[in-house]
Assembly symmetry: C2
Homo-oligomer: 375 residues x 2
């Protein structure tokens, strides 16, 4: 076979206002391009210790088992389920969008039983329904739900849901892919037992990593397993010999060194801004975007009390072609907004205001470009 | 919790001559820092189509199911096992180092039965032993082996082993993490059914991605599964709806966009050099290194006919402290060489000559630094 002749890839500078990846901080892109060092280099190990502190801050937790899975958010989801579940375990899974459904699939692939609590797309998880289900399923060992549904833009009340999990003797498993850094999230205060997120949303890091954290109760559950975790790669008892080993780290897999530089830098930016300030900024930018969208006559999918500032789902006006508009925004303005997913495909757009993307110039561009394209 | 105050990480410029990550091409680091675009952006999809062509060239295959898993090599290994195996399947696993043992663990975590063919560390897999085992285990459905054992530096005869697999009605599963790009490897000609590699060895890309390829027979086996793949994240029938979907790609997980830029660039460098030329260069640089090491009186672990040019295991001279020497090389010369692993821990060093690392100035530095430190 002959070698293919292929030119270097030169991506344009897009403005990323979809559901993620979001605009990456310039300093994060530069950090990633720094020279690669070995994954057992003492300097790198020092950086990983800092990274753990930064992740603990972002999650607001003192959990020892806090780290970044070397793969995207869906692997972070799988990390939580494969480590905690054993075949036959019952999990109450809340489903109000794509990612609740993905949780159900994970439960079943682990040999678990999923008991579903369904809410309509665009609505938050209903705590009352959850409590009824927990009450009638005393065999349930876990409650799993999505904090911020990326497919709809609805925010659920994680503190209340985790309190319910505790009340009924369940551990909580929480999807915080889109919430981390963008809205209030307090792992220890709310009593979250297992949580996963993604690097490419409100952290404005490059895609490919999944921050996770496990409470002492979750770690205890992992220790009490009688069967090995079905995934070797995601087995946290093996991974922790590397992440948690201090100076004596032992080899598990080769860490994605440069991607971890990027995560370190993006979390530094978050720590410098301050979590509360970041939540506040996302809210303020959302208000600005909302005014602009409403002035254009566009309607939100999610009711105001549950609306995520960082993921704005709006109905596509009747008579407007979904794909044509998104293509025009991309080609003429280098602006990416997201298509609808699942039940909302073809019916809604998703406008992200995540991390570095949540700034005034992006909103001005987005509103003006939509105005021109929809005119 | 207060935000931790942490400075930017400024890694030094190391010379990476361990078992990987290897020295990354400067143009690959720059490629990775290019602006992030969306994972469904038409321009990005075009880049992924090119990436597939480049991977097919590197593997010397026309396999349609050729792609990069969004996680390191150990996830590539797991991708092969979880997609192909069903509970109860028997796999003949060849074990002559760390990675054969890891294959066994993967088989068992999939509910399969591993029948082991053991060879000593530092020796290649013995085809005669393999044939005897295949003959006495007619229920076996797969033969799994490591082409280039990273833990020892031994090369096994993949063409002969794959022919044996075929003769006994087995599909072959091959670990090419360290071989791809460094020594002859011909997926179609040798009849390899499932193969995985890593980005951070002879491709000299950043760590974190795992190129994989499945033959039509392997794809057929995946299609005939009666049980879902136990991993949602690694389920190739889902992943291919994204990688194989052409313009109509559907969302599975968010691709690690910037890491894929890097892989595209590193494979472009390989295609520009030419595969055969790259294999030749690794061999020539190995000869140079060998002369230098022998002049210092150092002994190879692996016998010459099976010795990998890209991974040179040498015995630590008696009376020399392993860790002290490696620390001195790192601190005084910014030079990383690898420790021994498993059976060879404390007994051997592993000197990598991989991809961009396999060049004359690295060898000169390595020999001179070793000479000074061992003096």
């Amino acid at each position: 076979m002959k070698p293919p002749v292929i030119s270097a890839f030169e991506p344009p500078r897009r403005i990323l206002m979809g559901p993620g990846p979001s605009d990456v901080y310039p300093q994060v892109l530069s950090a990633q391009a720094k020279p690669t060092v070995g994954h057992l280099d003492p300097l790198f190990i020092g950086m990983m210790d800092e990274l753990k502190q930064l992740l603990q801050y972002a999650f607001q937790t003192r959990n020892e088992m806090t780290l970044a899975v070397s793969a995207p958010g869906s692997a972070g989801m799988e990390t939580c389920f494969v480590n905690l579940l054993q075949p036959g375990d019952t999990v109450v899974v809340c489903r109000n969008g794509v990612f609740g459904e993905r949780m159900r699939q994970n439960v079943e692939r682990c040999g678990g039983q999923a008991v579903l609590v369904d809410n309509a797309w665009g609505e938050p998880v209903d705590p009352q329904k959850v409590e009824e289900t927990l009450k009638t399923n005393p065999q349930a060992r876990f409650l799993a739900f999505v904090h911020a549904e990326t497919s709809t833009g609805a925010l659920s009340d994680a503190a209340t849901l985790c309190a319910l999990a505790r009340k009924y003797g369940c551990l909580s498993i929480v999807d915080a892919v889109t919430s981390l850094g963008g809205v209030e999230l307090k792992v220890d205060e709310w009593g979250i037992d297992a949580i996963y997120s993604g690097s490419q949303k409100c952290l404005s890091c490059v895609p490919g990593l999944s921050p996770v954290s496990f409470s002492p109760a979750a770690v205890e559950r992992i220790k009490q397993r009688t069967r090995p975790v079905q995934s070797w790669f995601l087995d946290q008892s093996l991974v922790m010999a590397y992440w948690g080993g201090g100076a004596k780290r032992s080899y598990h897999h080769t860490a994605p060194v440069n991607a971890l530089y990027a995560l370190h830098e993006s979390l530094r930016v978050l720590a410098q801004e301050g979590l509360e300030q970041s939540w506040q900024r996302h809210q303020e930018m959302h208000q600005l975007l909302k005014q602009g969208l409403q002035a254009l006559g566009l309607q939100f999918v999610v009711a105001e009390p549950y609306r995520l500032p960082q993921l704005n789902s709006i109905y596509i006006p009747s008579g407007v072609d979904d794909a044509t508009v998104r293509q025009q925004l991309l080609r003429q303005y280098n602006l990416e907004i997201g298509a609808g997913l699942g039940d909302l495909a073809g019916k809604a757009w998703r406008i992200g205001l995540m991390g570095y993307g949540a700034r005034r110039e992006n909103i001005a561009l987005c509103i003006k470009a939509l105005e021109e394209v929809l005119a």
